[in-house]
């Protein structure tokens, strides 16, 4: 199986004190494919990525990357992987160019080649103009790009990107998607974490959904969405007391019964085609003179996936009876 799967985790368990960050997670990322790790805040995505990239030791379980046992041969694993973590790992004081050259040198790339590679990457990530400014003057999007550039300096065959588009504006996010697609076009294996179904849908060949340290679903984007509507219409009625009435009126538009929140007057309707149904919604409610305060059409969200898998909404991490410690700075 080693040749077929470049990223393997088996039954990985990791505790932080009382917190069970990973509760027996198994994943298998196919060589040359993109594996999307989808989950809400606190699901354990970063913990798993850190374990796979030698930064963290699991309590139990087996992990291998590129056929190499991560727990026993860390140094060898580091030679073939690239990592862009959730928090950008760049040196603020150095310039963008110096950052890339330093990383090259630490991969033991000879100096002239390191200089060339830095130049090449600065161009590829549109950082040429800012190349000789200290990285602390960079915007969030520029930092992400520099971090991503640093992670592919040595052309790794296996790449880990932890929420590469979080905090980017929609336009930059789409540019980032293109960049990521290019990175894997020549055969690299990629593990990508995200909180957005849409992102996993666009980029990943295979998706693993995790929540509270467990795998709750896996498959292709289409498989995950198969038992889910294509679009959602969110309606807020002006008078919350009419929520029930409105929901009855709209029943015929969907196979599934609408989700409602009577206090706020929210109704969420799963439909085959949003564009067609939205006119129907307005017509049906207008006919019975139910006033609409707000009307939104949207694509299925991670929360909708959760609803369709577990029948429950995402548990907000803050609401869990767990304590949160100063995380991330585990180094």
């Amino acid at each position: 199986m080693t040749a077929k799967h470049s990223i393997i985790a088996e039954n990985v368990v990791k505790h932080f004190g009382d917190i069970k960050a990973l509760d027996g997670v198994s994943i298998a990322g196919e060589t040359g494919k993109v594996l999307g790790l989808l989950g809400p805040n606190g699901a354990g995505k970063t913990t798993l990525v850190r374990i796979l990239t030698t930064l963290l030791k699991p309590d139990s379980g087996a992990v291998s990357v590129g056929g190499i046992d991560v727990l026993r041969r860390k140094q060898q694993v580091r030679e073939i992987i690239g990592l862009a973590g959730q928090n950008t790992a760049i040196d603020e004081i150095l310039t963008g160019r110096e950052n890339l050259e330093m990383v090259s040198r630490l991969y033991h790339i000879p100096r002239p080649a390191a200089k060339r590679r830095a130049q090449e990457l600065l161009k590829q990530f549109a950082l040429t103009d800012a190349a000789d400014r200290p990285a602390k003057t960079y915007s969030g999007g520029m930092r992400r790009r520099l971090d991503l550039a640093a992670s592919i300096v040595a052309r790794p065959s296996i790449l880990f990107l932890d929420e590469p588009t979080t905090g980017l504006d929609p336009r930059t996010r789409i540019i980032m998607w293109d960049t990521i697609r290019e990175l894997v076009s020549d055969g690299a294996t990629l593990l990508l974490t995200t909180q957005y179904l849409e992102e996993a849908d666009v980029l990943a060949d295979q998706i693993v959904v995790i929540d509270q340290g467990r795998v709750i679903a896996e498959g292709t984007a289409d498989e995950l969405k198969a038992n889910m509507a294509a679009d959602f219409i969110d309606i807020t009625v002006a008078n919350p007391q009419e929520t029930d009435k409105a929901s009855q009126l709209l029943r015929s538009l969907s196979d599934k019964s609408p989700q409602t929140n009577e206090q706020r007057g929210h109704i969420s309707l799963a439909v085959e085609s949003g564009a067609q149904s939205i006119a129907e919604v307005v017509r049906l409610l207008d006919a019975e003179s139910v006033q609409i305060a707000e009307l939104n059409l949207r694509r299925p969200s991670l929360n909708d996936v959760f609803l369709s898998i577990t029948g429950e909404e995402i548990v907000e991490e803050e609401a869990k009876p767990k304590r949160r410690f100063g995380r991330r700075r585990s180094a």
Binding site: A89, E98, L106, Y107, A331
Partner: protein, 275 residues
Amino acid sequence: MNLNTVSVAASASESSIFQRFIWNFADTFVVMRRNLYAYQRQPELVVFATIQPVIFLLLFTYVFGGAISFSTGGDYINFLLPGIIIQTILFASANTTVGLTVDLSRGIIDRFRSLPMSRAAVLAGRTSADTLRGLFTVLIMIVAGYIIGFRFEDWGSGLLGLALAVAFGYAVTWISATIGLFVKDPEAAQVAGFIWLFPLTFASSIFVPTRTMTADWLRTFAENQPVSVVANTVRDLMTGTVNPDEIIISLLWIAGIVAIFLPMAVWRYARVASR
């Protein structure tokens, strides 16, 4: 799934012991340069860190000089400057404690740890950069000393003394690094980096001859602890006395400190870093 199959990539990446040995130095050099850039780009930090010991030197010479020359039996500046050089080097090592904890709290450490670089290089790059910075400060102090009347008896032995002082400073940065790796928090490091230095600095022969200390236990400690041993040797060398026994004992202290604290720091770094 079988995790025991070692792929071709794994065996191809085995490198010779010699090569890895060389890479230790190459990686250390890269990290050291990064730290020196950081100092170069915060000149105010270096300027104040340099002015402070010069002010010390002036204060001690002119405020205490008259009183202390009775017991030193000569020019106090010739007694003081070698001592204050050691003091400066000791206090400069606190930078290592603070700098390392700051490094650990920054994102860049994850980058270092995910690279196939030498494991000791992050630490050695820090200790060597801080040692160079210490050397820079000491050179400025020697210039200041010359202006107010200090003279090397003999340049050859004087420079040997300087080299010994810097080597001692390098050894001490490994103690500081180890402390930093236990403390971990940059704020706490501000204190932890310094406190252990006070007794070693003041209960020593840096500022006053140890024979003037009245309590027996204190004098015994002060006469034998490494800071005094090294300070006396450096002072002798800078004032033209070459005493091979003294030099060997100092070198043994330096080697002993490195032999204990370098592996301890590297061990601790691996632990801290893979919680």
